[in-house]
């Protein structure tokens, strides 16, 4: 079936460096993508989203890039801080799948002081 997955399960970065978390998706009909941050024992927290008619979207310290040609999504975090340590999930939704949000495998980001 269609799936969303991540390349790396764990990413360790130095505080102040930039982080890049990658995600591959297989549903070519996906038209809306979301990155969530999940801290231990807490619910997924919305970070940033992007529609399929865009290639890039920026937020505060975060940027999401979408490459529809290779079905690849990435989350870039600038000047990574210890508070950014968490598991990051990408999720996708498509018009032909109603309101069902499908999560990919999470990547654990560890920020070293």
């Amino acid at each position: 079936g269609e799936s969303v997955g991540l390349h790396l399960p764990t990413l360790s970065v130095q505080e102040g460096d930039n982080s890049i978390i990658n995600c591959a998706y297989s549903n070519s009909a996906s038209d809306y993508f979301i990155w969530y941050k999940q801290e231990s024992g807490k619910g997924p927290q919305f970070i940033i989203d992007i529609r399929s008619n865009m290639d890039k979207r920026q937020g505060q310290r975060v940027t999401v890039l979408l490459n529809k040609t290779v079905k690849h999504l990435s989350l870039q975090i600038a000047a990574t801080q210890p508070g950014d340590s968490a598991v990051y999930f990408c999720a996708e939704m498509s018009d032909n799948a109603g309101n069902m949000l499908t999560f990919g495998g999470g990547t654990r980001l560890m920020v070293k002081p």
Binding site: D31, I34, G43, P44, F46, D49, F89, N99, L101, F103
Partner: protein
């Protein structure tokens, strides 16, 4: 700002018992989703409701049922609990306007432990 409220936050039940989880969406949100997340796993979609009607169904076991009430809160009822049902159950809500792309906000989850 008000967020998605879930109760109880923690619940311990024995095998074959029943459990009910409650979800109160963000005010004015009319769509509610339920997800199940096992240890170290991705959240898995169970079921969703829009305007009190079931809109999508995922991997929800037949032992589980859910509904959305007139005040838009939702309840997930789980019967004949099994050890494998132990997980974190998330409720999420959004304002649906007929097409995808509405931000979905998650609650803090309800921890269910079946012993």
């Amino acid at each position: 700002a008000a967020g998605v409220i879930q109760s109880p936050r923690h619940l311990i039940k024995e095998k074959r018992e029943t459990a009910t989880l409650k979800c109160y969406p963000i005010p004015r949100h009319d769509t509610v989703y339920w997800y199940q997340q096992g240890p170290g796993q991705d959240p898995q979609f169970l079921i969703s409701f829009y305007e009190k009607m079931q809109s999508d169904k995922g991997s929800i076991p037949d032992r589980f049922s859910a509904q959305q009430f007139s005040d838009y809160h939702s309840e997930l009822n789980m019967s004949s609990l099994e050890l494998g049902d132990s997980a974190l159950y998330f409720c999420a809500s959004s304002l649906a306007d007929g097409f995808s792309g509405n931000t979905i906000y998650f609650g803090e989850g309800s921890w269910l432990t079946v012993v």
